[in-house]
């Protein structure tokens, strides 16, 4: 890393020489590998190495950003000069001041037991193929499996004296089965759809997922869904599993609390927020059972680091305390900091979730269900949609189990539920305890133009909500 850290210093010098009053430079070397199989054959091996330097500058109050794929002094200087030229051309109408940070030299390394890149592609493919084989049974028409490994070496330097070398490793994976019968086509996934779960960990995380062991049940459930009735519509009690709780948390809490959205920075694309700065310490976001934290130090969290991409140190913050809004995710420009992350060397940092978690309640999953005379247990996210202010949402899940008299009963398919954010969280009346709490990581959180995909984690346990609209 000394070489790339020197490039960052070179970029900062060039930026200051070109008129920047502030600059940060990130030099990144990354490897991202996905091994995927489909229908009993190797579908793809994507093994991408990418490197480059990205430089963000403030010139006369205007931001500028440019990047260069050459990890060389020339590339670093050129990126800095171009960033300054673009900032000058853009011009500023508002005065920008950044919250100060203490100068420091930080290091970070993901604790890894088994380097995922030490596992041969063939071994990964064989694991996927075995899991696929275990899902296969009459009625299953498609099986697929994938595992991913990721490593990023990032050097950061800022003109206010922060230097950091960070070495992050991620692993993840999942399996999917699609079944068809009489024109009904249904999908089932483990541990989740859309690429499964990821964690900041080594190959040991893939082994813990036990894809092969879970596979037969996934195939069986996919077939069962094709014979299941459509989930009946109506207002009822719902219990969400951890996977769906995470989706709900991400969309209806994680994004609305991003302060850049609240100030309109994403208005044209991702949208704004129903929240305003005046809601701090005043808005009742949900019931008293609802406590949410943003924790960039969470073990295995995809959003864990030593410092963010503008040099602000990692911390754990309370976002919602017993239902009351206490804090936002923000940046140094917005008066706070700790949430600025870029998805690569070729993008500006944006306010992003780190590891946003719904703190656990108490009791078991069985106790949650035991308190339901008539309701639905919703399991594994299937679809999501929410309005630009993050108020009106609709989610779909792969599985829906009838709850009668405190017991799980029939399986339904094609379940959806809808609601309005604060009303929905206000209806939370039970939350399972720490023993049911899991950390779930996803790599597909979209935001920004040009678009960026953040890797974020969420901890959650299953929860119960009363009087929810199921179906339409």
């Amino acid at each position: 890393m000394p070489r790339v850290r020197a490039l960052c210093a070179e970029a900062l010098d060039a930026a200051v020489a070109s008129g920047a009053t502030y600059a940060d430079a990130r030099a990144v070397v990354r490897r991202d590998q996905v091994v995927a199989t489909r229908n009993g054959a190797l579908a793809s091996v994507r093994d991408v190495e990418s490197e480059g330097v990205g430089v963000r500058v403030l010139v006369d109050g205007a931001w500028g950003f440019a990047c260069d794929r050459r990890l060389s002094e020339e590339g670093a200087r050129e990126a800095a000069r171009r960033a300054c030229a673009f900032a000058r051309a853009a011009g500023a109408r508002t005065d920008r001041r950044l919250e100060p940070v203490e100068a420091q030299s930080a290091e970070y390394r993901t604790p890894v037991s088994v380097d995922p890149f030490s596992i041969p592609v063939g071994t990964k493919a064989e694991l996927c193929l075995r899991a696929e084989e275990a899902m296969r049974q009459p009625g299953v028409i498609v099986t697929s499996a994938a595992v991913r490994a990721f490593r990023e070496l990032k050097a950061l330097a800022t003109t206010d004296g922060v230097e950091a070398d960070q070495d992050r490793v991620e692993c993840g994976g999942g399996i999917d089965a699609i079944a068809s019968a009489d024109g009904v086509v249904q999908a089932r996934s483990y541990p989740a759809g859309f690429g499964g779960w990821s964690a900041q960990a080594g190959w040991e995380f893939i082994e813990e997922l036990a894809l092969e062991r879970e596979a037969p049940k996934i195939g069986e459930q996919a077939v069962a869904l094709t014979r299941a009735p459509v989930c009946p519509a109506g207002r009822t009690t719902v219990v969400l599993d951890s996977d769906q709780m995470v989706a709900q948390l991400h969309e209806s809490v994680g994004h609305p609390i991003e302060l850049d959205r609240i100030h309109g920075a994403e208005a044209a694309y991702a949208g704004t927020s129903f929240l305003s700065p005046a809601d701090l310490n005043a808005l009742q976001y949900g019931s008293e059972l609802m406590s949410v934290t943003a924790d960039a130090t969470l073990k295995r969290g995809l959003g864990s680091f030593a410092v963010d991409d503008e040099g602000f140190p990692a911390r754990r913050e309370t976002i919602v305390e017993a239902g009351v809004l206490r804090s936002f995710l923000s940046s140094r420009e917005l008066g706070g900091g700790g949430s600025m992350r870029a998805d690569s060397w070729s993008r500006m940092p944006l306010v992003r979730m780190t590891n946003l978690s719904l703190e656990p309640g108490e009791g078991s999953f069985e106790e949650l269900v035991d308190g339901v005379a008539d309701g639905i247990y919703l399991q594994t996210n299937k679809s999501w949609s929410i309005d630009d202010k993050r108020l009106n949402f609709q989610f779909g899940t792969q599985l829906a189990w009838e709850i009668k008299g405190g017991k799980l009963g029939r399986l339904f398919r094609d379940a959806t539920y809808t609601g309005i954010t604060p009303e929905f969280w206000g209806s939370l009346d039970a939350l399972a305890g720490p023993e049911e709490w899991v950390v779930i990581g996803a790599t597909n959180c979209g935001k920004g133009q040009p678009g960026q995909l953040a890797h974020v984690s969420h901890g959650a346990s299953p929860g119960r909500f009363r009087d929810v609209q199921v179906g339409t």
């Binding site: 054959a41 190797l42 793809s44 091996v45 994507r46 093994d47 991408v48 190495e49 480059g52 931001w63 500028g64 950003f65 440019a66 990047c67 794929r69 171009r82 673009f86 051309a89 853009a90 011009g91 500023a92 508002t94 041969p120 592609v121 063939g122 493919a125 193929l129 028409i141 697929s144 699609i178 068809s180 086509v185 100030h263 309109g264 920075a265 994403e266 208005a267 044209a268 949208g271 704004t272 070729s346 993008r347 500006m348 299937k382 949609s385 929410i386 309005d387 630009d388 202010k389 108020l391 009106n392 609709q394 959806t416 809808t418 979209g446 133009q449 040009p450 678009g451 995909l453 339409t472």
Partner: protein, 451 residues
Amino acid sequence: MTESLEAAERALAAAEGDEAEVVVHAEHSGLARFAASEIHQPTLIDNAIVRLRVVRDGRVGSATTNRLGDEGLRDLAVRAAEAADSAPKDSSFPGFAPSGALPDVEGFDEETAALAPEEQARLARAALDGAADFGLYGYVTSGVTELAVASTAGVRADQRSTDVSVLVLAADEGASGYAAATSWRVAGVDPAAVAAEAADKARRTRDPQPLEPGPYRAVLEAYAVAELLDYFAFDAFNGQGFLEERSYLAGRIGERVFDERISIADDPLDPRGLPRAIDFEGTPKQRVELVERGVARGVVWDRTTAARAGRESTGHAVQPEYQTYGAIPVSLSLAPGDATIEELCEAVGDGLYVTRLHYLGVVAPREGIITGMTRDGTFRVRDGKPAEPLPNLRFTVAVPEVLADVPALGRDLALVNRTDFYGERTPAAALVPALATARFTVTGVGSGPGL
């Protein structure tokens, strides 16, 4: 020869395998993003990516890098060879694309390619000066992209393309309007006019009136048509979705599926779109009829899905990172009708007018059921004319039902940008008119227009 094809040939020469294929994808772009009428996130990107696939003893391996020097390409060759040697034998591998005659397409404009950051910022300021009474949010972006493919099967193909897009949301606390334009020629977009259109729309959205959920007739502007069609097409017109029964068209080829006014093609050759000559496997692009006068005709194929189906690739392999999703139509074209916007409203009579959609989710791909919100210009239509503004509406529709009863189809085509520039810059746009539908189901009501 482009620099990308030159790099592809060097990578091919360095490859270690029985067969090999190299894809180079390069980007040189600028995006001036603005909020509250100020450029707040100006981004300049330069990158070039090389993917090498090799076949060694019946095993396929691949690796990708953005180090284009000789050392980087040698490392790439070693990584791809190691991946192949470690991989299981792949009897389903369809082989690399044969060499074929490339279509002669437009799509590159010197003036657009020459735009410097200062000029990209100037275009953004032209938009910002286009409407003084609202805060403006959006971007102006232009870029040059190169795609080159070289292989031991004899392919030597490349294309240099330009694209430019303007997107403007005009908004304040109680009003918002949207407009956008895209082209491969900078002369084909007028940032000030886009801003003026967005502001004009915004002015009419104040004081939204309540609406009861339920079934409505609706006018969908081209922006909404493009987004809905794009989400539907991802599974419905995708060869992989077709083979795996997620496509609405599976089992319905030759059947009447939509209103006879509806004809849909994927047409990468149309100079009114963003023309493309080759796909990401080096196969020449071609126009594919998907629906003709309401009758399902076909889907698009890449080499993998075509081999499974016993078909030929139609040139619809997407960039490598998305190839596991199958073959995707990225140049959708809905044939126009003959109605003006006023006539579309008349055809609806009593219903809704929808400018733009937000955050769509596919609820059930096989049935084409999609949910989402309207935003930035939703109105009631009464007595055949646009009437009072409405809040953002949640809709849940089966796209086949939306397109099954189309009382009128717009005459004016709009090229609607369909990319948000994630990952590698891969411009895509749909060429569509506005339309009137008799079936648009509102399932909920959200917040009002505005910030």
